[in-house]
């Protein structure tokens, strides 16, 4: 015979439809979104991973000063690689962005055409789909780049640019001011050879099977290339952010959203457990009778666990259906908004099923089982006598009669509902974490941009292209002549230009993402850096110190980018500069440390634009646009997500506070009914039963705001340290605290109005009917 107790379940849902609907809604929303996210993430990740073979993605690429001859190529290919020319031109568009133009690729890094056709004529171009989206470009539109006009024939995704990093050393990709495009073979040939970057992609004949092997192979290859030509850039695939960042980011997102879901489910499980505990209290006599009649503890535990589990299972099923249909599209659109990914096919994801169905049900089962099992340990007689306290001789906490009666009453209500309020604190805390994360993103970016604007070393920094290929120990005369020619070519008439030496080293701490640190060798009494440096001083920028926790006296070890040579410096001080991870020393000191030669310099600080140095001698211009790339891109790709987080936080806040307040009123319905009989007005009853919750909610908010700020500060730090290069300091403006408080306050106001209505509905005869 089926347990007749199960017949209660549908009636319970009907009887408390409001409560179950909001729980359903929250669970379906959470599970649906996470399921959609995981399915989209997994499907796109699969498309991304499959892309390595499907589009024959390079094992790496390097850029040389000059085009290599056949013999040089042959010599390098002897290292077990095949080289492919991937020459490109970089041009500025009429809307101020840089577009990197390649010829159509047929052998390596082949193109995924997403819309339209590939270019055939010289004046045709296919541009990256995301770059096009960001500039509202469509097939058929005209695009002007480098003074030439192109007709856009198609939108593409280049597998070696799933993430639009202009330079591998960039902290962040920039899909607004940087894009890629494909022209026909003829189209590329139409560029002057001086306009082209001599880029070569390589593929190993035998793919290294481990990461260590791959690193070793890349190092060997670099040595071999260095013997043949002067390298301008060398990027093995495993270090190429344009290829790898997407995969790594997708993987890390997955863990984050799964944790988010588990937190929501755990909170809901506790809400359920509190609701059930309340029901058990209400039904103590019934439970006592059933236990006395022979119902086992297990049967009753199972009965009371059935509802949360059924609701979780149904929510998980509906959530998954939503996940695979509606939500998947929303989440995929979010990825397409950040990454330049190829087309994907939805794949069944066992992990998503496990995370969104199995784990939530187990979590719900476990939390409810632990709490119910403990409660059901009471004897049948204790249930019959309604003696549900586990503590023997439980005494009322003494409250001084000097405290006004209403205040004492309210304190008692708070004591009575302590478990609910603890849950409320946890729920508010959780909602606030999401809310603050959503609210703080934009201020962080704005603050960062303001700080950078205020603390820029100079309006423009020009990093020069030094003729390293001409620097040869064996041909000193040739080197000297080359140097002389270089110095002439890079002289400027700008009066405010100030020379500095520059050198780049790479970090060595594997706990963080490896990144490039730019060393500045500055003039004595520099007009751009008010730093009085003595000969051996080594200052680090505040951003560098903040990210790596450096202080004066600490040692830093950095290595050459393409060699094994490493350097150790002792930090003398910290220079307040948040825009980059830099080291400052005197020009003489830098030239000496890196053996650059006396009088050598690598760039200019300048507050006016330099126009009298030929473009080929300028490697990089660091201006406001370049420095705010990180914040701009983060704002663009995460802006949507932040709004979603805020909305989700508000929903969670509303639902949790509503559910827990509801339980408190329901628990006290009998007493509320009695106070009505005694003649208390509705206002007085509200002051007795709603005001305590109001006080607790406001206290919870006030406690949670600084705690949340502290937590997000830590999360932010870890995120920036481990997931990206560069540094974006955490910052919360006071307005955000006010926003958090007001959001919570208005959410609670809605709940309080609903609770007032609930109190109004408590019938007076409730107290009369119940004879116990």
């Amino acid at each position: 015979m089926r347990n007749p107790l199960s017949k209660r379940l549908p009636r319970e849902i009907k009887g408390d439809l409001g409560k179950y609907l909001v729980i359903f809604f929250l669970m379906i929303l959470s599970i649906g979104f996470i399921s959609g996210f995981l399915v989209a993430d997994n499907s796109m990740l699969k498309a991304y991973q499959d892309g390595f073979s499907k589009y024959n993605i390079e094992n790496g690429h390097f850029v040389t000063e000059h085009k290599m001859n056949h013999a040089q190529k042959k010599a390098i290919e002897k290292e077990g690689v095949t080289l492919y020319e991937q020459f490109y031109a970089e041009k500025e568009t009429d809307f101020g962005a840089t577009i990197r133009i390649y010829a159509d690729r047929t052998q390596v890094n082949t193109v995924c055409l997403m819309d339209g056709t590939l270019p055939l004529a010289e004046d045709e171009i296919a541009v990256d789909r995301m770059f096009a989206d960001n500039h509202e470009l469509q097939v058929g539109d005209q695009l002007t780049a480098g003074g030439r006009s192109y007709r856009i024939t198609g939108l593409v995704a280049l597998p070696d640019y799933s993430c639009l990093f202009e330079k591998n050393s960039d902290s962040m990709f920039d899909a607004v001011l940087f894009g890629v495009g494909i022209v026909s073979e003829q189209g590329l040939k139409s560029f002057d050879s001086k306009e082209l970057y001599q880029c070569y992609a390589w593929k190993y004949e035998t793919e290294p099977s481990t990461e260590a092997e791959e690193k070793k192979a890349a190092e060997e290859l670099m040595k071999a290339i260095n013997k043949e030509v002067a390298l301008k850039d060398f990027v093995p695939r495993y270090e190429n952010q344009a290829i790898c960042f997407t995969g790594e980011d997708m993987g890390s997102d997955r863990a984050m959203v799964a944790i988010l879901l588990y937190m929501v489910i755990a909170i809901l499980a506790f809400v359920f457990a509190i609701t059930t505990a309340n029901t058990i209290e209400k039904e103590a006599n019934v439970i006592g009778t059933l236990r006395a009649s022979g119902y086992t503890r297990g049967e009753l535990v199972r009965h009371y666990m059935a509802m949360p589990c059924i609701i979780t299972v149904i929510s998980a099923l509906i959530g998954n259906v939503l996940g695979y249909t509606v939500m998947k599209k929303i989440c995929a659109a979010m990825y397409y908004h950040s990454y330049s990914l190829p087309t994907y096919e939805t794949v069944w994801n066992a992990d998503a099923f496990l995370s969104t169905t199995v784990v939530p049900v187990i979590l719900m089962l476990l939390i409810n089982f632990l709490i119910l099992h403990r409660q059901m340990k009471l004897s049948p007689l204790q249930f019959l006598r309604r003696d549900l306290s586990r503590k023997k001789n439980k005494r009322a906490i003494y409250l001084s009669p000097l405290i006004k009666f209403f205040s004492r009453f309210r304190i008692r209500v708070i004591f009575q509902n302590m478990a609910n309020y603890v849950m409320m604190l946890i729920g508010i805390q959780f909602a606030y974490v999401l809310l603050l994360f959503g609210l703080v993103m934009q201020p962080i970016m704005e603050h960062y941009q303001e700080q950078i604007t205020d603390s820029m070393l100079a309006k423009y920094q020009y990093l020069l292209n030094m003729p390293l290929s001409e620097m040869d120990e064996d041909h000193k005369l040739r080197s000297m002549l080359a140097m002389l020619q270089f110095e002439q070519k890079v002289e400027t008439k700008n009066k405010d230009a100030e020379k500095f030496s520059a050198y780049t080293l790479r970090t060595t701490d594997e706990a963080y993402m490896l990144e490039d640190i730019l060393f500045y060798g500055i003039e004595h009494r520099s007009s751009y850096l008010p730093l009085e440096l003595s000969e051996e001083d080594v200052y680090v920028s505040s951003a560098y110190a903040d990210k790596y926790g450096l202080k004066a006296g600490d040692q830093i070890t950095l290595k050459e980018k393409y060699e094994d040579k490493s350097y150790t410096f002792t930090v003398t001080g910290i220079y307040p500069y948040d825009a980059g991870l830099n080291v400052f020393m005197t020009r003489e000191h830098l030239n000496e440390v890196f053996d650059l030669g006396e009088g050598m310099f690598g760039g200019y600080f300048c507050n006016s634009e330099i126009t009298d140095i030929e473009e080929e001698y300028i490697s990089t211009v660091i201006d406001l646009d370049a420095l705010t790339k990180v914040s701009r891109q983060l704002e663009l790709s995460m802006g949507q997500m932040m709004w979603l987080m805020c909305a989700f936080a508000v929903i969670i806040f509303l639902i949790l506070v509503y559910l827990l307040s509801k339980i408190i009123i329901e628990k006290n319905a009998q007493s509320i009914s009695m106070t009505k009989i005694l003649g208390y007005s509705r206002g007085e009853i509200a002051r007795l039963y709603i005001l305590p919750t109001s006080v607790v909610v406001i206290l919870c908010m006030l406690i949670c705001i600084p705690i949340t700020n502290w937590e997000i500060g830590i999360i932010w730090r870890i995120m920036i340290q481990t997931m990206m290069t560069g540094w974006l300091p955490y910052w919360t403006p006071d307005g955000v605290y006010a926003q958090m408080f007001l959001t919570g306050f208005f959410c609670y106001l809605i709940v309080a109005v609903l609770e007032l209505r609930r109190i109004k509905k408590v019938p007076m005869d409730m107290a009369l009917k119940n004879v116990e």
């Binding site: 009636r11 006599n285 006592g288 006395a292 007689l381």
Partner: protein
């Protein structure tokens, strides 16, 4: 003997506040017997009933039902014992509020491998008209009849009734007593009823009077009358 109670002692509290509620109770009840435990408040009759029902433990003494000793049983076996042998009726009906009359009775039937026919029982309880109603749609008497149905549907060896008419008016109380009498006669269950209504002793086979935790009188009622003839 079907039910043997030997030297049952029970006290509550400790130190100065220790109260001896049962001071060594010896009692035997035959199968199918209708036994009434009478006594004033605090005499220990409900405590004795709870110990017989296995929902409370005695400090000393033993209870044997059909050869099974309850004091040796652990929690699990005690539950199984209650499931198999006992039916409970309380002063408060303790019905499940969101189950209908029939479903509340089925809650009892579920516990037995060979329950009584629910349809027939509902008829016996005169609840046919109300079978689809929820408890809050019933009068006190109807609710208590439903509670009796839930207790006896599993055809227990012993029906334990703790002040079953305590919350009911005269006429409804008589109705309930008639019903318990019918059940006792029809199904042959042993009935042990705790009450402080002295009149009820007249319908019992055995009358046990308790005071201060001791049996003051224990006798077979030779002049047993029908429940409908009771008056108080």
């Amino acid at each position: 003997m079907f039910l043997e109670i030997n030297g049952i002692k029970k006290s509550f509290g400790e130190g100065d506040s220790l109260v001896e509620v049962l001071k060594g109770i010896d009692l035997s009840v035959e199968k199918g017997e209708f036994c009434v435990l009478l006594g004033p408040s605090g005499s220990g009759k409900s405590t004795l009933l709870n110990i017989i029902g296995g929902i409370d433990r005695a400090d000393a003494g033993s209870i044997t039902i059909n050869g099974e000793k309850t004091e040796d049983m652990n929690e699990k076996r005690l539950t199984a014992y209650r499931r198999k042998h006992l039916g409970y009726i309380f002063q408060m009906y303790n019905l499940i509020p969101n189950l209908t009359v029939q479903e509340n009775i089925e809650v009892g039937a579920y516990l037995s491998d060979h329950p009584l026919d629910v349809e027939e029982l509902i008829e016996t309880l005169e609840l046919t008209k109300h079978r689809r109603k929820l408890p809050n749609q019933l009068s006190g008497g109807q609710q208590q009849r439903c509670a009796i149905g839930r207790a006896i549907v599993k055809n227990p060896d012993i029906l334990l009734c703790d002040e079953p008419t305590g919350a009911l008016d005269y006429n409804t109380s008589k109705e309930i007593l008639k019903l318990i009498e019918t059940v006792n006669r029809k199904y042959g269950n042993t009935v042990i009823m705790v009450t402080h209504n002295d009149a009820i002793k007249n319908m019992a086979d055995r009358v046990v009077k308790l005071r201060d935790g001791q049996i003051r009188k224990n006798y077979i009622n030779e002049e047993k009358i029908k429940a409908e003839d009771l008056d108080w």
